[in-house]
């Protein structure tokens, strides 16, 4: 499958070592530099073996923070993220982060300690069958029962996490296995999983594209994962075919590039959704017809035939009939298609003009009335001020959708968001992980007041390691997206969405030793962004916004993407 897997070499060590030591030396050999974790009883031998090694362990303040940070570290670096936790509650606290990595296909290895094998199955103290608990949310999992198997198991875990369609892999290590000594002469032999290019299917795709009058490229997060960004940009440029992107694919084509119509789906642009509904051919690249992208599936792209490229054959035809299936590596597949199509131009000028006209006509406006902060404008300004080194690590909610709609992204790694799982609490630990992965980047956590409180303890981690993460906290004193749905779909019955008793976030940040300031008027935004970006260390901008502000446009849940609503 993927060539992205780490190069695995076997280096037989003759002297017996403890399982814990074998784990640490295997991680070092695999090129791991940062591990996010939290110690506890059943993983103490591993923490003992960590001291004095080249591995940088980041002690988070909650295991969920470790998993989210490892996830974002992987997204920002392209490497496998690593987190570790003890048995029982430590392991269960990782679960939301593991699920997040699974849903967004992020390569991650999670190492858990467990109780000794002799007491497994007896309800021992802090015993949880974490392998069983996590089965539905991992790409694979391995319970290592003999210390001599640790190097091969860990190497296999890294290979599985990174290859093909990436995902999280759990390695569970009972405490007796960590203590036991062994000689570990084994290395994991990387299987040859390459799928040959299906030239017949690519030729068929070319025929479909040449026959289409209104072709459209539908880009998913798989393009970035496959490191096929340049190939897809070249395809779009060579053919002139307009493109739309999913939430997780923003930046694959630069926000302001000609022919790019923006995000499709529930909070997508009108231009993108109209193009999809009018298209007669969708060229789907590493996307999976998620319901937030398609709206009512039966009415999605009703006139379109489908050409679908994906590394994961189970995604092809899963939700939408496919006319040409190209299962395999995206990059060579798209490059081959581009080469075929570059020979003679497509005759799609009327369609291209129609899409561009719609995009110009429906372009977002930033001239909202009033003196309060208009979050979409602030986010656009922020991304422009941060430039090409900008990385947004978003939490989940209205601010996440505004960031997706209004930030300028010049590369897909610039947008880190919890797409599939939609996990509140992701933003702060994700910013931590991304900044550690790419210290030269201008990493900004964009959070709301609800999600920020879910992992607020990680402010202490920022302070401890001096991580210069910038935080824009958009505070509407409510659970804004739920409030918006209650307004629109539940007859304004505002049930349990009021957070007006939030703490003073500036004081909270300062209590953690982090610089913080408040923005509550529009005329403070420019100076506030400058101050935030100029700060040497971590810095939080607490931005007061109107609680009644909604995310527009919106496709109501269960409706067709043709039925977009717009605010007053």
């Amino acid at each position: 499958m993927s060539a992205a897997a780490p190069a695995l070499k076997t280096s037989p060590d003759a002297a017996p070592q403890s399982g814990a030591r074998l784990l640490v030396s295997t991680l070092e050999r695999l090129g791991v530099d940062v591990v996010f974790g939290y110690p506890g009883g059943a993983i103490m031998p591993i923490y003992d073996a960590l001291t004095g090694t080249g591995l940088k362990h980041i002690l988070v303040r909650h295991e969920q923070g470790a998993a989210f940070a490892a996830d974002a570290y992987a997204r920002a670096s392209g490497k496998v993220g690593v987190c570790m936790a003890t048995s029982g509650p430590g392991a269960t606290n990782l679960i939301t982060g593991i699920a997040n990595a699974m849903m967004d296909s992020v390569p991650m290895v999670c190492i858990t300690g467990n109780v000794p094998q002799g007491v497994m199955g007896t309800d021992a103290f802090q015993e949880i069958d974490i392998l069983g608990v996590t089965l539905p949310i991992v790409k694979h999992s391995i319970l290592v029962r003999d210390a001599s198997e640790i190097p091969a198991a860990v190497e296999q875990a890294f290979h599985i996490a990174a290859s093909g369609r990436p995902g999280p892999v759990l390695v569970d290590l009972p405490k007796d296995v960590q203590f036991a000594t062994a000689v570990a002469p084994f290395g994991f032999n990387v299987p040859n999983e390459a799928i040959p290019l299906n030239h017949d299917a690519i030729a068929e795709a070319e025929r479909f594209i040449r026959a289409a009058e209104r072709p459209l490229i539908y880009i998913g997060g798989g393009v970035k994962i496959a490191k096929a960004t340049e190939a897809v940009r070249a395809f779009a440029e060579a053919t002139g075919i307009p493109a739309v992107a999913t939430l997780n694919a923003l930046g694959t084509i630069a926000t302001d590039a000609p022919g790019f119509l923006g995000m499709l789906g529930m909070h997508g642009t009108r231009a993108a959704n109209e193009a999809v509904q009018s298209s007669d051919l969708l060229i789907v690249l590493g996307a999976r017809f998620d319901d937030r992208a398609t709206g009512k599936l039966a009415e999605f792209a009703p006139h379109a035939r489908v050409v679908h490229f994906d590394i994961d054959a189970s995604e092809i035809g899963k939700l939408r009939e496919t006319h040409v299936a190209v299962a395999g590596e995206l990059k060579p597949g798209v490059e081959s298609l581009t080469a075929r199509l570059a020979v003679a131009p497509l005759a799609i000028d009327p369609w291209v003009i129609r899409c561009a006209t719609a995009a110009a006509h429906h372009a977002a406006r930033y001239d909202a009335p009033g003196e309060g902060v208009y979050a979409p404008a602030l986010l656009k300004q922020l991304s422009e001020a941060a430039g090409d080194r900008f990385v947004a690590a978003c939490d989940v909610g209205q601010h996440q959708m505004w960031a997706a709609q209004h930030c300028r992204f010049s590369r897909p790694e610039a947008h880190i968001t919890s797409g599939g799982l939609g996990a509140m609490g992701f933003g702060l630990p994700a910013g931590l992980g991304a900044k550690l992965a790419d210290p030269s980047a201008t990493v900004v956590t964009i959070a709301g007041d609800g999600g920020f409180m879910m992992n607020i303890q990680e402010l202490a981690t920022l302070k401890r390691y001096g991580v210069a993460l910038k935080i824009v906290l958009l505070d509407n004193s409510s659970l804004g997206l739920v409030r918006q749905w209650q307004e629109l779909f539940f007859q304004e019955n505002y049930s349990e969405v009021d957070l007006s008793d939030n703490p003073d976030f500036v004081k909270v940040a300062e209590a953690f030793g982090i610089e913080a300031f408040r923005i509550d008027r529009r005329d403070q935004v420019e100076a506030g962004i400058d101050r935030l970006l100029a700060a040497d260390g971590p810095c939080l901008a607490h931005v007061i916004i109107n609680p009644k502000e909604n995310v527009w446009p919106l496709v109501p849940p269960g409706k067709s993407n043709a039925e977009m609503m717009e605010g007053a």
């Binding site: 069983g132 054959a313 035809g317």
Partner: protein
């Protein structure tokens, strides 16, 4: 009534492997109507008779999902037997 199909699978004898397979089948929207297992040393051979919860469940897609599991291989795919339930 949806059709039932029998899928033949070779599966490694690893911790959680049976749970992993059966959990996947049920999670992806299939009832398991029958199951037989034969020991083959390091692996096990399993015949699963499955039926979709509704007509939208595709046995072909379930096969692809099973193929994604590690230590699991379909035997003779895609020549599973199909019969009226």
């Amino acid at each position: 009534m949806t059709m039932s199909d029998t899928i033949h699978i070779q599966i490694d004898r690893a911790d959680g492997s049976l749970q992993r397979l059966i959990g996947l089948v049920e999670r992806r929207g299939f009832h398991i109507d029958g199951m037989s297992m034969a020991d083959e040393g390091v692996s096990r051979r399993i015949a699963l008779t499955v039926r979709g919860r509704d007509a939208a469940r595709s046995i072909d897609n379930l096969g692809c999902q099973i193929d994604r599991l590690f230590g699991v291989a379909r035997i003779g795919a895609p020549a599973y037997q199909s019969e009226a339930a």
